[in-house]
Symmetry: C2
């Protein structure tokens, strides 16, 4: 991860979009823009929290380690999203999770001290962020219940629906998110092999179509049914 030499504005950034206009110059003065290569780590679980990141472009995953080679992917972040906000806490000073770029990305870094100032000065932003956190918490707990009680097939169906909603589809109808099967399985909390078998089941049922790194939903009703029937 290295400082970008190119100049980036502060247009497409959660922070600047919700701040007071008079605060923008301060942000401009304090931000740092980093270019992150595919596969590169933005920050790592256990490291001390130093700042917060806003995604300008690219795709990243937020994940929590497990044993030596396992992980659980908690969410994916694309442009306009926040990264590292889980480190926002006074008593816990280390990142509880890691963030890794899935493709070459550009992120905007804000020092934590300055960010805390921002929060205190921009009450509207703080309010906005609070709502964002409430949503994240809801989503997190929904996912937790699913992992606890739903079958892998149901979770996969839910994941497909949420990918569709979050990232949309390409012209050909495939999900606009290229993920390795490895990542998908880490996201739904299953092994690679299990995911593979379940994908095949769905293909046989003509519910989806898989090619290379992309997935297309053929029978949305069926997938939606699978995603909700067990709840």
């Amino acid at each position: 991860m290295k400082l970008s030499k190119k100049k980036y504005g502060i247009e497409n950034c959660y922070l600047s979009n919700h701040c007071l206009p008079e605060w923008l110059p301060a942000i401009e003065a304090n931000k740092k823009i980093y270019e992150v290569k595919k596969g590169e780590l933005v920050f790592k679980e256990g490291e001390p929290v130093e700042g917060i990141y806003f995604v300008y472009s690219g795709k990243l995953k937020v994940h929590k380690k497990w044993a030596s080679d396992k992980e659980l992917i908690l969410r994916f972040a694309t442009d306009g999203k926040i990264l590292g906000h889980r480190g926002l806490s006074t008593n816990n000073t280390n990142y509880p999770i890691s963030a890794t770029a899935l493709e070459n990305s550009v992120v905007c870094y804000i020092d934590m001290n300055f960010f805390h100032c921002t929060l205190k000065v921009n009450t509207k932003f703080a309010y906005k962020l609070l709502m964002f956190f409430a949503d994240e918490l809801q989503e997190s707990e929904r996912k937790m219940r699913n992992i606890a009680h739903m079958s892998v097939k149901g979770r996969l169906a839910q994941t497909l629906i949420s990918f569709k909603n979050q990232f949309g589809v390409n012209e050909d109808g495939s999900l606009a998110l290229e993920l390795s099967k490895q990542d998908v399985s880490s996201y739904i909390g299953a092994t690679y092999e299990t995911l593979f078998r379940i994908l095949n089941e769905l293909i046989e049922e003509k519910a989806i179509e898989v090619s290379k790194r992309s997935i297309k939903i053929l029978d949305l009703a069926k997938v939606e049914d699978l995603a909700t029937r067990e709840i």
Copy 2:
């Protein structure tokens, strides 16, 4: 759940503890105190969000439904804690979870409109709440990973440790939280029978002692080991 006739101050309440002193009269004027009987619902998943609650006394569980008879308990709330803050969100206007009293409790209700005002006026409180949400999110994601990858035994051990930290122990060393086995199993995301067997294993290993509705940790080192070894 019915309005309390008794007068309650606003001392032991997350809201009043973190607000501007000059805002306290407004809170006083807007609060409603409810008495909740054991087993009674404070609010229910799916219902429209109308307000937020602060626990004065008692113990409650926050849970998410599943099928007809299953549930996942997300957390327990005792005095000083917040309830219903998951409903704090502009786009989602229904509670994503339910809250039920485990024993007779007293809660303080604040209308959501007034609460939003409070947030806008009391920036320090909003900030405090933001930190609280960050912590909740961390905890939620830690628990999610555990449910995804940890054995029931490991999760139980973690749960015992966290109960000890959150609720403390009685003079006799037993956890100061009386729960039915049903509730414990819903909290760790396992069935009643499985929990029972695992409890027995731990008893045979002389790690814990169980009587009626209380649990005592005998061998803390062992429980701590179980709680961390798989991570």
